[in-house]
Amino acid sequence: MTTPSAAPAEDAPARLPGSLNTNRRLSQWLRFTREGTVEVSSGKVEIGQGILTALAQIAADELDVDLSRVRMVRANTASSPNEAVTSGSQSIQESGSALRHACAEARAIYLAAAAQRLGVAVETLSIEDGTISGPHNLHTSYWELADDGLLNREATASVPPKAPHERRVAGASTSRTDIPDKVFGRPRFIHDLVLPQMLHGRILRPPAPGARLAALEEGSVASMPGVVAVVRDGDFVGVVAESEAAALAALARLRRAATWRQVSALPEEAGLAEWMKRQPVETTVVAQRAAPAPADVSRTVRRCYSRPYLAHASIGPSCAVAQWTDGGLKVWTHSQGIFNLRADLAVALGVRPEFIVVEHVEGAGCYGHNGADDAAFDAVLLARSAGGRPVRVQWSREDELAWSPVGAAMAIELEADLDAKGEILAWRCQVWSNGHTSRPGRAKTPTLLAAAHRSPPAEALLPINPPLASGGGAERNAVPLYAVPALKVVNHRLMVMPIRTSALRSLGAHANVFAIESLMDELASDRGEDPLAFRLRHLSDPRAKDVLEAAARRAGWSSRRKREGVGFGIGFARYKNAGAYCAVVAEIEAERDIRVRRLVAAVDAGEIINPDGVANQIEGGAIQATSWTIKEAVRFNDTRITSDTWESYPILTFSEVPSVEVEILARPKERALGAGEAAQGPTAAAIGNALYDALGVRVRDLPLTAERILAAMG
């Protein structure tokens, strides 16, 4: 057993694993209690992906305690490690590796304390479920030794975590710890939070973004029974009441009492892709490689692909609770980034960040930057007029579908230069899209929805793309993994934002992979070559080939038969070109529209902490991507989003959902890679390619609707 060495000199802090590097005190990550539990803190939050279970598994393994002793502390800005945002499939990499090292070091520190207490050598001790045993029946435990002072020190990461074969809990499909509450209906979601003296708030949304409040006859509302306050700040209007029913009644009357001046600002939905190409843009070269030798171009294939704006469309509309007291502001939120939200709140309110404590409470499924942060700011603005009482704001379905940020629309042009045999000589890609993130906490200007409605309104910030080192945004996965002699990939970021966009699961990867894999498929079939074989001979990474072959084998790719109205398609990507590998084979039936019958996915996400958790993420991602691919588009007219109900924004239903099989390739010695977003692009591509296999037509604009299929069939 290695003894932890002293903390490194302050002028040259050593780089520590994952988020340990920026949250270096061991006590930020864990503490033992006298009651026989270990409290584990992470800055990453549960968004329906089962991350807290996976992190608890890692801690249980390194500490040698039963999983049931691990208590995951609700992330909050007062005490949790600051791990920025739970996004980008980074939680296992960032939080998992930090916890693994912190727990290994904590275990060593407690072993040393036990050795001292028992008067024996550290080497003679062993730990089982927290009980530390030595020779001659000597024993103590974490719980007996529990002393917060022991871990109040800088991590050194000098204690190596267990080797993969020594892990007992991580790597196994343990039951998720949050599921019992959810099947027995115990309060767990933020929607269920009830605080003493809590009031209820609702926001009067403008009829469209950009509409200005011309007049508000609010007098009659303030005197309604149960109404505590009508809050107006510029174009931001809300009501606070004693009950939800009173708040809703007041909101209905406020709606009638308001007169708005509308503006027309949105482009035509039908010509969106072409409209984007005409806008002012900021252009960056993402990748460029010249051919090693000149070659004769026989022909050039140019293809245009697009996807519409996509809604997060969580089943639970956003919700938040806020309370202002003399001591400070407390906010309960299902935000993915509690520290970032706090930063934006502080800027918007002109207070110090330390004045605000933001605490995470689980929300419904989160697939990116949705309305959670906006709802929190709504609650904060209303709570200021609530005399110290907490105010709960519940968004409506219409709010959720029409006022949350949406995933950016994209237009993609691909060109391939081919030689006389149809082999690729050069590959060029241009992407037009808004930036893919407007997350809070990034600038001096808040990006929260209500900030644009208050007086004076916050300047609307254009969304940005995360740096390429983190996978990029619109350009995510725009560079093909396939070997091509010459390459140029260009990203055009729109300098206008007709509809508010931000991060949606997989960012640009969904449409970029759809485009690349569609063209690869087309080039293969033009040559009369099997699309799988064509892909394999353009790949050098054995892990990439393995997932393609595994998916094909499981799906019966080589023995598939041509049948009327049935198609098979394949799609592949390595997420961010640096994350999890995923290949999907789709089997569909197609006549006038598409019915996806079966999806077979193979995934390599490196070391797996919870195999069933990974399978669940791939399964869910594939089903959600199927819904995006064949059904979904945010609808809008010249002023606003009109798809604000489930009728106007339909998603895949139980009878439309395909069977999904997931094969996980075991790579216990490889770095753990997030799996949550890996299936989005490959699934879309596999369905598009299966459509071609079934009907002989290529539809390059998403979603693949009956109208578009008919149009393509001429």
Binding site: P180, K182, F184, I315, G316, S396, A622, S655
Partner: protein, 157 residues
């Protein structure tokens, strides 16, 4: 306007004073403090607030209080308890049949109504019965497996 309305919730008779037009969902979550039934859309399009009224799955969000006077309502809390789970609850745990779980209360209630009228449903019948319940995380197939398992185990019991 307010009236006293008598109804049975999870086997217990309750008297609720309120506007008869109030949606049942608000009464369950607010007045009665039963949080399992979830708000999703407010217009009976997503199934998140499904409860069982006299044997049938109905959306509590657009069911006015007056319409359930004298009727018997079951919510997820009334289906089973950890010590004595309903077969559906046990099966949803066994199949790890969710991601975020927000839609699960409504799905389980739709499934419970199905199994009451058809103890041996086919997979297609389960999917049809759940078609008005939306799930965004893509846990559909796990939930279908859980319902089929619960039906099987319910018949065996």
């Amino acid at each position: 306007m307010a009236q006293s309305i008598r109804l049975t919730v999870n086997g217990v008779e309750r008297v609720v004073d309120g506007d008869p037009a109030t949606p049942l969902l608000g009464v369950l979550r607010g007045t009665l403090g039963l949080m399992a039934t979830r708000f999703g859309c407010g217009i009976n399009q997503c199934g998140a607030c499904n409860v069982i009224v006299d044997g049938a799955a109905v959306a509590a969000c657009d069911t006015p209080l007056w319409s359930v006077a004298g009727k018997s309502i079951t919510t997820l809390e009334g289906l089973g308890r950890p010590e004595a789970p309903h077969p559906l609850q046990a099966a949803f745990i066994a199949e790890q049949a969710m991601q975020c779980g927000y839609c699960v209360s409504g799905v389980v209630m739709s499934a419970a109504a199905l199994i009451m009228r058809n103890p041996d449903p086919s997979e297609a019948e389960v999917r049809a019965a759940l078609d008005r319940n939306l799930c965004r995380c893509g846990a559909h197939n796990r939930m279908v497996r859980a319902v089929l398992r619960a039906a099987r185990e319910g018949r065996a019991a």
